[in-house]
Symmetry: C2
Subunit: 565 residues, 2 copies
């Protein structure tokens, strides 16, 4: 990548060379986060001049990735820094407009990979809003004070309760198909049909009506939950917030913990974090992530856990891992495979899992588990080949074993290496592997792995808390291949071969093979909707010189290849 | 479309201008259909020179659409002409090769729409094989005597029982990703993970290993059901056939009925069938299908039904409708919307549904219902905007009402038209609308429509066998809009607008909005897998001048854009 042009197709603003996912409320340019008692309010007031890239202005509360990075950060702040918050209100800081959605100039100028990655990240953030309600008990109310178009309405769709002002002009809309010849990029179609269960012919009308639907019909068609007069708007929002806060099961009274900026050392070929090392071998198109196990025993008490704050090992590692995965997704597009390694004592990892299990009702323990759940899901939907190398001295146990199960393949070394002092590799299972970390399809990774024979799952369950060596792990079906030192070169051959295949074909193949079994709204969004969207984003009718995305705003009508496919 | 080049990108062989889906066993060039007692054997022995298009040879039992049209026809023959068949054996007529899959030269030269339509049709045919087992009780055994690669193995995956010869070289494989940079096009990934429940890392190895998997490992990994020595191969197949025939619940002893060629009159702007008219308005990009209700009362007895044979009204109409839909899909790519109309007496349609219900255990009644189920599913996954116009004199009742529910929108005229003698439009529901015709997602169309409020489904259930006028239909949620004669012009405006939108965006939108609720293997194949495939089929890594599909067989390696998306 050159200094001036990022892989996104744009130049990153302010001379930055990479997209950084770290921010904090004091640096926000687009969102305001306020917590008043148990009501958190997130106000969208986009700074037009604050685009992440050069070349466009974020008018009418339209957004780009930078706006969404702040939203994702704000959600983490609410989880960890504001445990007293019991309801969240999403609103606009601008008059008569909620949000115009994803910025069209940004989309028109972005590369295909950036568009796809952008949509994936915004989807994850919206899923996070729903998970905040489901797992932490913090429901979201969306207060639509004007136009909520495209991604603006899709943000509202992530809320539990949508209130639309009835002023004769405020409307919700998904104008992507009629206006831009693309699909709503952030789960809109799926949430309309599967979450809000809008009747399919109404959905058809809605999604092909550029100006959207307003007033009473918006509520009748289930697009919003209530429509209120402008004079009653603020009081209705407040009333609903009080009601939902009263119903919240969140028990996190008291102070939260602070999430300081991650300590990172970024060099050309590596990113060093406290508990994680990332090394890039660009010639082989590999990113190797080495996760380090806990530095010692878990805290002696929940108070000690709270005191350790963001340095609490599982929290620190999860935040670092999340940052690393996003960095690779957006800034290291040429990476073919992510290789996961680990180093440390598997027993120490199990001890942390036991500590979190023992304190599962404590708000911080719950939020740490929730963060791991989301980071693991982020790995599940990352379009890179995922490989776990389980070698002597590694600690793929409990929560960390999930990373091996999230991988497309795992290789485990039998015994030790000549001249190496590390103990033979063991993996270990814990309760946490059997229910705490559902995949996007709702199954645990082991449950999905053993879909054919539930008895294999029973056999694995019986091995909890034991150290399992390579051959036993292979017999239990927990790894793909157990290899001795002499055959370990097969791993190199495999990684070379993988890098020689078509990146697109691998993306499609992995997206299909990773998620056997049931589908959820979430898996439909990532698998089905995303795939259609990827296709359409690639078609000349959208992105060609005469396509709708290119011609939007020029006054020229798009010219379409009229063949239906 | 010019005389020489069909919309597929190739010239249709023998100077034909359109792809015709009508054939019969005497004309087969690639399959042999033999029925011996209760065992039907379908033998694939592809005529290399018998390609549907000019420009390639069908070597090694590779196939193109023409081969699959014969397979689909053979299945219908077994359903209707051979009710005594209770098991089906799929085998190869060539030594040491089962099938090399879809012909690569054909794929490399085909247009994007043809590739997508080809895969959709082959998927429907394989789903039909599974449905033959599930609904008619005729299980399929696949006898793999050699190489079963790509689409060859995908055909095997549709069987209930796969037997692979163990001769040191016979193997099953899905080499699309490593060899061609595309995905297996006919449900392979989904059936590997969801039907055969192959463990995901094994599936990963399998789908990236060009030469495939043979012998014992193929069975251990669940890719085949049994592996047998060559000397035992034929007797094993026969034994399994006897076992499955003995278990079959098919009760269709005696003679079948003959399926004569459909009577069609094809002109430039129309296709006229006995019970169906198709009119093309190419300027407006519309195909209007007018379904005609029954000419009289249903037969007096099942014997009379059997005697009427292929002229039995619901059978005739279903065959004609199927042919028309396929014709539009493949030969009329510019059609933006399919407009469904009907003419006839709704009470007469209900009488036929009652007749079929009363005789639901008769083999022919079951097969007729089954054909309608499959034709309706074919409509569900047709990528054209679907519109039902319910006008005076129409007969959208019972089975025909499903077509309105399969449509993206329906418009119903209130009252009569000035100067028109036709009675006001009524629609009518029957038992058949509440369970007989599941969509690909497993729900009935009304169940899917009323996902939000099951009480709406109850209200509809209570109206069975009644004539429902436009306003009542709108109140019940059975139609999208009831309009009077003065407002009916809205339909014209809607159709014009629809034709102005991007065909791709509409395809993606409709694929997402039509299938709310659960997913099945079938819906995953059409929605998730197909979408990924469409995307990959469009990417330069596959179809570019340096892409794998173009370079296959040239000795030159493909050059890939290495960015992962």
């Amino acid at each position: 990548m050159s200094d001036s042009a990022h892989a996104s197709g744009h130049s990153v603003a302010n001379g930055e060379r990479r997209i950084d996912f770290q921010t904090e409320p004091a640096r926000y340019r687009h969102w305001k986060l306020a917590v008043d008692g148990d009501v958190a309010t997130l106000t969208l007031d986009v700074d037009e001049k604050g685009g992440l890239f050069e070349g466009y202005e974020l008018k009418l509360n339209s957004y780009d990735l930078g706006v969404d990075i702040e939203l994702a950060d704000a959600l983490e702040r609410l989880r960890f820094e504001h445990p007293q918050a019991r309801v969240m209100v999403l609103r606009s800081g601008k008059a008569r407009v909620f949000s115009a959605g994803a910025n069209i100039r940004m989309l028109a100028g972005a590369t295909h990979p950036h568009k796809v990655n952008f949509c994936k990240f915004t989807n994850e953030t919206r899923n996070g809003i729903e998970d905040f309600s489901h797992s932490s008990g913090v429901a979201t109310i969306c207060a639509i004070n004007g136009t909520a178009a495209g991604g603006g309405y899709e943000l509202a769709l992530a809320a539990d309760h949508i209130v639309l002002v009835d002023d004769g002009s405020a409307a919700v809309s998904l104008p992507e198909v009629p206006l831009l010849a693309v699909l709503p990029g952030t789960g809109g179609l799926t949430r309309v049909s599967d979450k809000r269960k809008v009747r399919r012919d109404h959905a058809d009308v809605f999604c092909t009506t550029e100006e959207g639907i307003k007033g009473k019909r918006a509520a009748e068609w289930r697009l919003v939950d209530e429509v209120v007069q402008g004079s009653k708007f603020d009081e209705t929002i407040l009333l609903r917030a009080r009601e939902l806060a009263a119903k919240s099961k969140r028990g996190g009274a008291g102070e939260g913990i602070r999430l300081p900026p991650l300590k990172r050392t970024v060099s050309d070929d590596a990113v060093e974090y406290g508990s994680l090392s990332v090394a890039f071998d660009r010639a082989r198109r590999l990113a190797t992530l080495t996760l380090r196990g806990p530095p010692g025993a878990p805290p002696a008490s929940v108070d000690a856990m709270v005191s350790s704050g963001a340095a609490f090992w599982p929290l620190q590692l999860a935040r670092e891992l999340d940052d690393a995965i996003l960095h690779i997704r957006f800034n290291e597009l040429d990476t073919a495979a992510i290789v996961f390694k680990s180093s440390g004592d598997p027993a120490a990892v199990l001890a942390y899992d036991q500590f979190l299990d023992a304190n599962e009702d404590h708000w911080l323990a719950r939020e740490v588990r929730g963060l791991w759940k989301r980071v693991l899901k982020r790995i599940d939907v990352t379009s890179r080949s995922l490989v776990a190398l389980i070698e002597p001295g590694s600690c793929f146990a409990g929560t960390l074993a999930e990373i091996a199960f999230a991988s497309d393949r795992s290789y485990m070394l039998i015994g030790t290496r000549q001249g190496d002092n590390e103990p033979p590799a063991s993996i270990a299972l814990a309760d946490v592997n059997f229910g705490r970390y559902p995949m996007p399809n709702g199954l645990t990774r082991l449950g999905c792995r053993f879909l054919a024979n539930p008895s294999d799952l029973d056999a694995a369950t019986a091995e909890r808390e034991k150290m399992i060596d390579a051959e036993a792990a292979q017999n239990l079906g927990l790894i793909t291949f157990a290899l001795d030192d002499i055959d370990w070169d097969e791993v190199r051959v495999f990684l070379e071969e993988r890098a020689s295949f078509s990146p697109d074909a691998l993306t499609g193949m992995e997206a299909n093979l990773r998620f056997a079994g049931p589908e959820t709204m979430e898996s439909k969004i990532f698998a089905r909707l995303t795939a259609w969207q990827n296709w359409i984003f690639q078609r000349p009718n959208a992105i060609g010189e005469e396509g709708a995305l290119k011609r939007y705003g020029t006054g020229q009508k798009p010219v379409f290849d009229t063949r239906r496919v």
